[in-house]
């Protein structure tokens, strides 16, 4: 049997991308899975088939607390980004009527996301520090007598920075699905006597659900794997799985870090599949 060009063509075209992702994503993750069963004797790792790394994680209360804390960050950041992103996307999609201005405001929202995350975290220092603007404001309003220490290097700072970094990943998919809603549907509903909130509840919310789902996947997975923001904004005080893995790598405990990474991956994928059950991704492009 001869392979003909037309049937071979798509495979050749997708080959470079697939090879790159296999080499730098799938094989490395396979390595992590293998190493997670290895042993660590205090200074080096050696090949083995040991469940000890997993056992030590599942029996430790510290890890349980770390995971719970990670879920807490993910849940709060998810909720806050959704509450901010939906009205913003709605405003851009429905309240701005000229395409020109729509593009302008949308681009204005996206520009900060093309700059460095590290810098965008550092930029909070003038606001949150002990002598920062927020403390000065609260002091001058008489709301507090002493400057608050907890503004910077706290869970609050972590969540604020994460929302600041990731809110766009919620806005774009919601905006995208709002823009696809056929405007005639809304006109028809209004002609049939639907009130504003009814249009929102019966038409706009259900039709934008896929956008919400995609945004949620982005935000939740990014927060679940976070370590930089948590390290920087909590001053190293908050705990999260990604940060724990980072620290274990720092002390060369690769097998333990690998076991943690496998668990983190399984947890993250479970969350994603849970969200994916509600939408068909390919229709959204």
């Amino acid at each position: 049997m001869r392979l003909r060009w037309p049937s071979l063509k798509p495979y050749l075209l997708i080959a470079p991308q697939t090879l790159i992702l296999l080499t730098f994503l799938i094989v490395p993750i396979g390595m992590i899975a293998v190493v997670s069963f290895w042993e660590f004797n205090g200074y080096a790792m050696s090949p083995a088939l040991s469940w000890a790394n997993y056992a030590s994680i599942f029996t430790s209360r510290v890890y349980l607390a770390t995971y719970l804390n990670t879920f807490k960050f993910a849940a709060i950041v998810w909720a806050v980004t959704l509450v901010i992103a939906y009205p913003i996307a709605y405003f851009l999609a429905f309240e701005i009527r000229s395409l020109r201005w729509q593009v302008f405001w949308f681009v204005l929202c996206t520009i900060p996301f093309f700059t460095s995350n590290i810098i965008r975290m550092i930029a909070w220092i003038p606001f949150l520090g002990r002598e920062g603007l927020l403390n000065q404001l609260l002091l001058s309003l008489g709301l507090i007598q002493e400057p608050l220490e907890i503004l910077l290097f706290s869970d609050f700072a972590v969540i604020l920075a994460l929302v600041h970094l990731y809110v766009l990943f919620m806005i774009v998919p919601i905006f995208n699905s709002l823009m696809r809603i056929d405007r005639q549907l809304i006109t028809a509903a209004q002609d049939a006597g639907a009130a504003g909130w009814q249009v929102l509840r019966e038409i706009i919310l259900p039709l934008s659900a896929p956008g919400v789902a995609i945004g949620s996947i982005f935000v939740v997975t990014m927060v679940m794997g976070e370590f930089t923001t948590i390290r920087l904004m909590s001053g190293g005080q908050a705990s999260a799985v990604g940060y724990a893995i980072r620290n274990q790598i720092g002390s060369l405990q690769y097998p333990l870090a690998a076991a943690n990474a496998v668990i983190l991956l399984v947890v993250t994928l479970t969350l994603v599949f849970g969200i994916l059950r509600t939408v068909d991704l390919r229709q959204e492009l």
Binding site: R97, W105, R120, W124, L133, H164, G196, I249, A261
Partner: protein, 271 residues
């Protein structure tokens, strides 16, 4: 006549304004503080005005040096940009036909986006160690960056080709053009404005990437890694100055891409 604005417009517009303040406020404050005099500190009020700190960035520092990490990040970003554009256009073209395994290719790209970044870093590190290769910004970090930029580029290209009107290609073929000619003379000019977007996105994602690079850049840091190292031990506006400069650089890149896009868009609608 446009109908009168409703109350919800004003409420949402206020909210939107506050949101923009939230987005840009910290960056603006950082930029202002980087213009302080030599006595400047990390917080307001401003201690005089000068370019002292901005100039200091270009001098060798106590805590590190930023000129060569910048060139490294720039080079890496440009390479990533080229690879991402070419590879994602090929994959996007391949994806227009139905073929067995298409679903798998699609989910591989999605997986690459949603896998926690630290797994990419750790995995590539372990992989290189097994092979006995040393990790460097131009091999392992390059791979790590591609796992982040390629899926975005690919998803955009799939979206672009979903909306692409096949009539143009059919016309070219009817006139006797080969596959390659059709692509080069018909398809490529039509998707060119989208490619500018993909190129800019790939470059900036790579230029600012930290998480997937942090463990695998080898002994020579990329710029974000150098900046992160600085956060732990610098307490002067020098760090704001560095932030200001890289942010301005990013703005220039984005602005340039937008200008280029508008230009190519206009040229297309004229011809």
């Amino acid at each position: 006549m446009t109908p009168k604005r409703s109350l919800s417009f004003y409420i949402l517009a206020t909210f939107f304004g506050l949101f923009l303040l939230f987005l840009y406020g910290p960056i603006a404050a950082m930029m202002l503080l980087s213009l302080q005099g030599p006595e400047g500190s990390l917080t307001f009020p401003m201690q005089g005005w000068s370019f002292h700190w901005l100039q200091a960035v270009f001098q060798p520092q106590r805590v590190g040096e930023f000129v060569s990490p910048f060139w490294r990040s720039l080079t890496l970003g440009l390479v990533i940009m080229g690879v991402s554009v070419v590879v994602s256009v090929l994959a996007g073209l391949g994806f227009r036909q139905r073929f067995r395994g298409a679903q798998g290719v699609f989910y591989l790209a999605i997986a690459s986006l949603i896998v926690p970044s630290i797994l990419v870093s750790l995995g590539i590190g372990l992989f290189f160690e097994r092979l006995g290769w040393s990790v460097q910004w131009y091999n392992s970090a390059l791979g790590g960056h591609l796992t982040w930029t390629l899926p975005f580029a690919f998803l955009i290209m799939v979206g672009v080709f979903n909306r692409f009107n096949p009539v143009y290609e059919a016309a070219a073929r009817d006139l006797g053009a080969s596959d390659f000619q059709t692509f080069w003379q018909v398809v490529l000019p039509l998707i060119a404005p989208n490619l500018i977007g993909v190129a800019m996105l790939s470059f900036t994602l790579s230029y600012d990437e930290f998480n997937r690079t942090s463990l695998i850049s080898g002994e020579h840091n990329t710029l974000p890694l150098e900046i992160f190292g600085m956060t732990t031990n610098v307490t002067s506006p020098a760090i704001y100055a560095l932030g200001t400069l890289t942010t301005v650089f990013s703005f220039v890149v984005v602005g340039g891409a937008i200008a280029l896009w508008r230009w190519s868009d206009r040229r297309q609608s004229e011809s």
